[in-house]
Amino acid sequence: MLPEILQGTVGGGFVLIQDSSNYSGRQLLKSFIHAALTREEVVHVLGFEVSEEELKDGLNESSMQRLHFHNAYIDPLGWTESPHFTVHQFSMEQLTSLFKQTQQTKPFTLVIDSLSWILRHISTPVVCESLQQLKKGGAVRAVIGLLHSDMHQRGLVGSVCHLATSVITVRPGLRGDGAVAKTTKRSKTGKVTQDEEIFSIKEDLTVTVQGKPSQPGTTQTELEEPEADPTANLTFNLRLSDKEREAKEKLALPFVFSKEKKTALLHTGPGSGRILYEPDANDDYDQEDPDDDLDV
């Protein structure tokens, strides 16, 4: 599923990359930027954590004019007189005015590196509301954010994941080659699909999926010994041949009702009780001696 999300065929929304200190998700984020630029899309990057040079390193030179880097790395909290971009500018009104400055006609992709930085300085409900508005807005085609899950409380990570359309959690692979990405995607109809893949990122920032990880820790299937057939090796015969089976089934059991009576009994209407009585030979049903005159 990872290549599909990379290609953006699923239609944008909010993609969240969750990483931890064991494995950094920044390379995957850069491959997302690379894929968007290859698709001739305009990309805006809000960079808090790494410098512009470091982020642009490895990306294609020719598509650089479509990449707009809003430098929040130098002065994110606005301590100097004229900061480029501060963290407090992360609100819907300020962002839309910022994006209008770089005139574009078609919807662009917004990449946030990283959301953890913003969440440390602005309260979570405000960030969630801004993300929700960005997700819905017509100007932004897709929002891709990086979140360091070990920097925040579980409730906060959960709240942000709840907003996301797709969540990709990356962790280091067991065997040392490549990393494992667990992807969860929610479609508009409410259907949820999940996938776990081993991937690796090459020098030119293309992602190759190498397959599924084998799960050693999950359900141990017990190797049951094939149970010994108890009907074998006996001095008497416990098995039936086909002819014997047929004869057994043809045998009419005593005290059994006819087929019509059985169906009548089985399909009686609900809630009514009927007494079906078939007088047999021993019953003496004398018409002239009814029990109605018994005064009981």
Binding site: G155, V192, K262, G269
Partner: protein, 409 residues
């Protein structure tokens, strides 16, 4: 309480089920008008409405009592709780009640457009329970059981929850409700991002979003005459309130984000005010809450206590239980967290605690989870031996408990 006084003595609702188990109808000479879509409960005489899901009605003691609140703790991806909310609203449309929908993640119109279509003919309903192990067709089933043939049509295990009389409708999830039917119902909407913000000067423990919602509800109830303000001649109706994803970060509440939320009493104050509104009017509310995000269990406990009914959905999607063969027929587990005590000391508790649900096309069924008997020899032997060892610490035979684990009498 306002609700039960109106309910006692009203005739049974006009809808007769396709087959009646009994033709008894209570005759009363009261002048009270009966509200369509409601009926008095057989347990305590409260006026109840159907939630739209018949198995859930059975769990709640026949239905949701008018004037109460049902809390649904959402599953991880909010698929099934949203489905139950849609069933609830669809039932309101079919019973011609009024609706009030509040949402913050998407517009209430999106929820209203996804309501399932009602199945209006009575054929697909309430057959004797179909089971997996039952052979197909009534004709050849006679040959399947030769001796115990009377038990053929009975299910192997009585797992589906159903009551004898029909109350509530069935819906087809694959189709959406026709726009004509939906527009016939009066729907009030509350969409917080588009709600005009009124700056309240008073310092209230509630957040702005919650107080705006409560004010809006109060206006709707008062204008619609649900609280008895309108004269008696006007026909009464029920207001069904559906609040989606209350307490999530989009309402402005940091209940789900922090372990020690700053506004820890905002949601609880809101629920208190909501319950007061519900008790004094002919309305019923269903609230969904993303409880899997709330880390503070004490707060979650107080929220549960403030609601009358509370159930929690746990879906298997994405958890390791998905591959468990025990759960392969079901979509998730359902836990009943709270049952109401309405004018009584003892409430009707469900007799089984382990319930599982599955969403079929024509029904959302909640069933008792049955564990198959454990037939492997080693397990039973060890447990019996251990039990025997534990029960007799100093056995008369003089043998030590640990040595004779495999003694089998």
């Amino acid at each position: 309480m306002a609700a039960p006084m109106k309910s006692v003595g009203s005739k049974l609702s006009v809808e007769r089920p396709a087959f009646t188990t009994t033709s008894f109808q209570k005759k009363t000479r009261s002048k009270l008008v009966s509200i369509p879509g409601t009926r008095p409960s057989v347990q305590n005489g409260q006026l109840i409405v159907s939630t739209g899901v018949t198995s859930l009605d059975y769990l709640l003691g026949g239905g949701l009592a008018v004037g109460t609140l049902l809390l649904i703790e959402e599953d991880r991806y909010d698929s099934y709780s949203r489905m139950i909310l849609k069933y609830f609203l669809a039932e309101g449309v079919v019973c011609r009640h009024e609706l009030f929908v509040a949402a913050v993640q998407e517009s209430p119109d999106d929820i209203l457009q996804e309501l399932p279509a009602p199945i209006l003919d009575d054929i697909a309903i309430h057959k004797p329970v179909e089971q997996h192990g039952l052979p197909c067709g009534p004709q050849d089933s006679l040959d399947s059981m030769k001796i115990a043939w009377r038990y053929q049509n009975l299910p192997k295990v009585q797992s589906a929850l159903a009551s004898s009389s029909r109350f509530g409708h069935y819906y087809d999830v694959s189709k959406t409700m026709e726009p004509e039917i939906r527009q016939a119902a009066n729907c009030h909407r509350f969409y917080f991002p588009e709600h005009p913000t009124q700056s309240s000067p008073t310092q209230s423990p509630m957040l702005e979003s919650y107080s705006a919602l409560l004010k809006s509800l109060q206006e709707v109830i008062h204008k619609g005459g649900f609280d008895g303000a309108a004269p008696m001649t006007k026909s009464r109706n029920i207001l069904r309130i559906g609040l989606h994803s209350l307490g999530s970060a989009l309402w402005g509440d940091d209940l789900c984000c922090r372990d020690n939320p700053r506004h820890s009493h905002a949601l609880t104050t809101f629920l208190y005010g909501l319950r007061a509104l519900l008790r004094s009017s002919l309305s019923v509310a269903v609230v969904t809450l993303p409880s899997h995000l709330i880390q503070n269990r004490a707060l979650m406990g107080s929220i549960t206590r403030l609601c009358d009914n509370a159930i929690s959905l746990e879906s298997f999607k994405g958890s390791e239980r998905e591959t468990n063969p025990l759960y392969k027929d079901y979509h998730g587990l359902l836990h009943v967290r709270q049952v109401p005590h309405l004018n009584c000391l003892v409430s009707e508790l469900p007799d089984r605690k382990d319930l599982a649900f599955k969403l079929k096309r024509k029904q959302f069924s909640i069933e008792r989870l049955h564990l198959p008997p454990d037939l492997s020899e080693t397990v039973s032997r060890v447990s019996r031996g251990e039990l025997a060892g534990a029960a007799m610490p100093g056995s008369a035979c003089g043998s030590s408990t640990s040595g004779n684990k495999h003694l089998d009498f």
